[in-house]
């Protein structure tokens, strides 16, 4: 019997675990990722410290390579060409990938909420700035405010400080009361507790201010200062950079294009991580924001299920349940306070691609109405940034997802016919 072809989209913790499990169990496995290297976002390689390795990352990548699965980086999925073929763009050309079983490990992105000044150079996502620093941007000596919500803020601030930045403060919008039960629950996960404590220690004398959020960023051509509030008083801090993100939003576009059912914004999966579409599995953040440990165990389950290794070991199922519970506590602890949904002024840009302001959107009734009248969400990011913002701000639900999932050069369409028949198709 011909070995099963398993295609994995995303080389982060979920995708690597899935590929490793499927490959070890006799499948032919290829992993596609749009980034130049494996690791996804949380395990993004640090070019300035190539030998400073995260143990979990090293172990996962080593296991992946040993398993015999193939990594195909620099490829971005743009379309579905048949029920079992995906179209990827790589360096201006199209390639097709056929699969018997497909595993989606497409991860999450940061959620951004617009506030006056958030489009200034010098304002980054929190994870965004961390990624740029890992990519070689030196923040040594820079004065940085870290703000928004979620455990990522602490990790990012600790990382920036290690790189010689002067982290002025970490402003967490969630109140101490909101976070406390979550912090206490970490006693059940000693690994995560230690990690959190390590970040806090690395932060030194940088304050971690709960119940505190940014209301505006100031500067002419670039950031000069950030104004924070705790709801009672406001104060302005001079700084060079602002790293600001409001937790995470799942990347579900490909799953949607494939026809997978979403439930409350996340990809619905069964006990085997299978989506509503037979032979398509999903693991990690797209199924619910729960972090790296959840992504790894879900990935392993998806890989085993795709390789028809049944039943799934109960130890894995138990770990998945534990991590899912952690995810629910996380989401609850870092839920948004209503004030952060009211930061934009009339002139604040909400859609950065098309420079559509909050004032322009206020009179629109839904996502489609906004698109038709203002071009909100119709630029190159295709609503990935403003869609999550308008969902939080106005409660708008994005409508259909259409191909191409990302902008592609017209030239790629010109040689599509030839490349579709090319032997690159697996």
């Amino acid at each position: 019997m011909k070995p099963m072809d398993v295609l994995v989209v995303g080389a982060g913790p979920a995708g690597l675990a899935a590929a490793t499990a499927a490959s070890r169990n006799g499948c032919r496995v290829a992993v596609l990722d749009d980034n130049p290297a494996a690791g996804g976002q949380i395990w993004r390689a640090d070019i300035t410290r190539p030998h400073h390795e995260d143990a979990a990352r090293s172990a996962a990548i080593a296991a992946f390579h040993t398993s015999g699965a193939a990594l195909l980086p620099g490829r971005r999925i743009v379309d579905v060409r048949s029920p079992s073929t995906l179209l990827a763009e790589a360096g201006g050309h199209f390639e097709t990938y056929r699969w018997d079983r497909l595993i989606l490990g497409t991860g999450a992105r940061e959620r951004f909420l617009p506030f006056p000044g958030w489009t200034l150079p010098g304002v980054f996502g929190a994870g965004g700035l961390q990624a740029l620093v890992k990519g070689g941007y030196s923040v040594s000596g820079k004065r940085i405010v870290v703000a928004g919500t979620g455990p990522l803020l602490l990790a990012v601030a600790a990382h920036l400080r290690e790189y010689g930045a002067s982290t002025i403060t970490v402003a967490e919008q969630a109140s101490a009361l909101q976070i406390l039960p979550f912090a206490v629950s970490l006693m059940r996960s000693p690994g995560k507790l230690l990690q959190g404590a390590g970040y806090r220690k690395a932060l030194g004398d940088t304050p971690y201010q709960t119940g505190c959020w940014p209301i505006s960023a100031q500067g002419d051509e670039e950031l000069r200062s950030v104004t924070l509030t705790d709801g009672k008083r406001t104060w302005t801090i001079e700084c060079d950079l602002l790293a600001c993100g409001f937790h995470l939003a799942p990347n579900t576009e490909l799953a949607q294009l494939l026809g997978c059912t979403l439930q409350e914004g996340f990809v619905r999966v069964d006990t085997q991580q299978q989506t509503s579409v037979p032979n398509i599995y999903c693991a990690g953040e797209p199924t619910g924001i729960a972090g790296v440990d959840a992504a790894q165990v879900q990935g392993e389950i998806a890989g085993l299920a795709a390789a028809d290794c049944n039943p799934i070991p109960t130890s894995l199922l138990a770990r998945r349940a534990k991590e899912a519970a952690f995810g629910r506590r996380l989401t609850h602890a870092f839920r948004l306070r209503p004030e952060v949904l009211k930061l934009a002024s009339q002139e604040t840009i909400v859609c950065r691609c098309e420079d559509v302001t909050f004032g322009q959107l206020q009179t629109r009734s839904n996502w489609t109405d906004a698109k038709l009248h203002t071009r909100c969400g119709m630029g190159p990011c295709q609503g990935r940034i403003c869609g999550a913002a308008t969902e939080a701000l106005f409660g708008w639900q994005p409508t259909s997802v259409r191909a191409p999932l990302f902008p592609v050069p017209v030239a790629a369409f010109c040689d599509e016919t030839s490349s579709l028949n090319a032997p690159s198709a697996r």
Partner: protein, 82 residues
């Protein structure tokens, strides 16, 4: 730090960056915006991971190149995208 450096050209000026650097990071080191928005605002990378597309710039003559997913290569030419 990696020993090797590569030289790239940002809006015509040369800059030396560690080998393996992302182009988006190099643009920040050169204090150059990636692109100018449709209402004329300078923009730099936001998400750092290929989602927001604020990091688009002209790389070796190719428009709309995502600099946060492009590794600097010796002699690469990048211009702020108008």
């Amino acid at each position: 730090m990696p020993d090797q450096q590569v030289v790239i050209y940002v809006n015509g000026s040369s800059i030396s960056v560690p080998a393996g650097s992302m182009l988006s990071a190099a643009l920040l080191m050169a204090s150059a915006p990636c692109r100018i928005s449709i209402t004329g605002q300078p923009r730099t990378a936001l998400c750092g991971m290929g989602i927001c597309l604020e990091c688009r710039a002209v790389v070796n003559g190719v428009l709309h190149t995502r600099t946060c997913q492009t590794v600097c290569q010796e002699g690469m030419r990048v211009e702020t995208q108008p």
